[in-house]
Symmetry: C2
Subunit: 236 residues, 2 copies
């Protein structure tokens, strides 16, 4: 055993390293979404394959960070704020991994869509718009996590309502499209699944922001209203 102070510095460094690793994982996942949507809109088959192939990198990071957290708990016996941080990391990486899955799903749907005849396909403007909002939410969630920023976290929770609204708009639009020309039904459903994947990315980003509020305030806000979360964030 070295001195307590040294041990604590070491511990700080370990926590800092695991936080940095989460942000790296977040950056990778963010890139996967960006590339998946780019592949969808451009029809770039190589890019689609790359996104699907790279999903294992996201998975590997989840397993690795999870193990690190287990080691920290076993060796450092964190309490209070430190423990909340470790538990937040464990939960955050589960959501990041599932966002990675959704990005791979978008890339796989893009492959199916690229193989179809171009039956007056919609040009993905709405999809791109919804994806931009969720990318912004993901970035903000990671920022909120990095800087323990409650206001940003609360903004993300509010933004998720916007994504849900976008999803419903895309669905209404696709229904009209299918009714006008039933030959587009299969294609429209694939686009709908892309929209659903984007909506879920928004949900995961929202979860991540709620964990940040929990980490900072020690209060679990996963099942309260947006208004309460905003009050909680404002009272910091």
């Amino acid at each position: 055993m070295i001195t307590t102070e040294h041990t604590s510095k070491q511990f700080d460094a370990e926590l800092e390293a695991v936080r940095a690793r989460v942000l790296q994982m977040g950056g990778l996942v963010e890139n996967q979404i960006r590339l998946a949507v780019e592949a969808l809109t451009s029809g770039d088959l190589d890019l689609m394959n790359r996104v699907v192939a790279d999903d294992h990198r996201v998975n590997a990071m989840e397993v690795e960070i999870d193990e690190t957290c287990g080691q920290i708990i076993a060796r450092r016996q964190p309490a209070a704020g430190d423990l909340r941080m470790v538990m937040t990391v464990i939960k955050t990486i589960t959501d990041l991994e599932r966002i990675g899955d959704e990005a791979a799903k978008i890339a796989r749907m893009a492959k199916l869509l690229a193989q179809r005849e171009r039956l007056n396909l919609p040009r993905y403007n709405e999809i791109k718009h919804a994806a931009d909002i969720t990318l912004d939410m993901l970035r903000k969630s990671l920022d909120a996590f990095a800087r323990l920023d409650l206001q940003t976290a609360a903004q993300v929770v509010r933004q998720d309502e916007l994504v849900d609204e976008e999803f419903r708009a895309i669905m209404r639009y696709l229904i009209t499209f299918m009714m006008e020309d039933p030959r587009t039904i299969s294609t429209s459903l694939e686009i709908l699944f892309v929209a659903k994947a984007i909506e879920r990315i928004g949900d995961h980003a929202q979860n991540m922001s709620e964990y940040v509020i929990y980490m900072v305030k020690g209060r679990d806000v996963r099942h309260v209203t947006v208004e309460e979360i905003e009050r909680e964030a404002a009272s910091s």
Copy 2:
């Protein structure tokens, strides 16, 4: 401080209590799915409302068990198998909570569907069949968790392929249905979202079974093939 042995017995009792609570939460969630599907097929509006209203009970259990796990980590400083058990619980309840969300989603879709004209609606046989498989998966996952049973856990992972196949069959069937009568498109999409919710329940049950394998074997099998998981389970 009491004797180590007593402390350890106390600790065992705490772990046992938290495991029992997870199984209780699992039973509640299982019931929510069963009632949601019953409400869908029977058109029973009271039942639909009850499932939606009861979702908060699932959420409250998640928050409570999460807090208990945090306290156990902070006070008991679990290591090795005990720590893996606590981490498994933390992950399992996240999936159980999301299964609860999917059950509430099914109940909400059932409400929308009950309000529609009966335009030659399919009779939900396929939906019921897929739901029965996922209910079986959930029960087996909880059993595997309770009895640390690797073979059962491996079966669940294999069963998820069946659910995915059922989902694709329902989708093909709904596409035919929509093409034959475009007036059924909105209704069919709602049924498709019910099927999607059931498919996701299967995914969550699969996650839970993979955590059990991790807990028992100390090996993370979340991102390996079904064959590898079966080998892992057989080598116990």
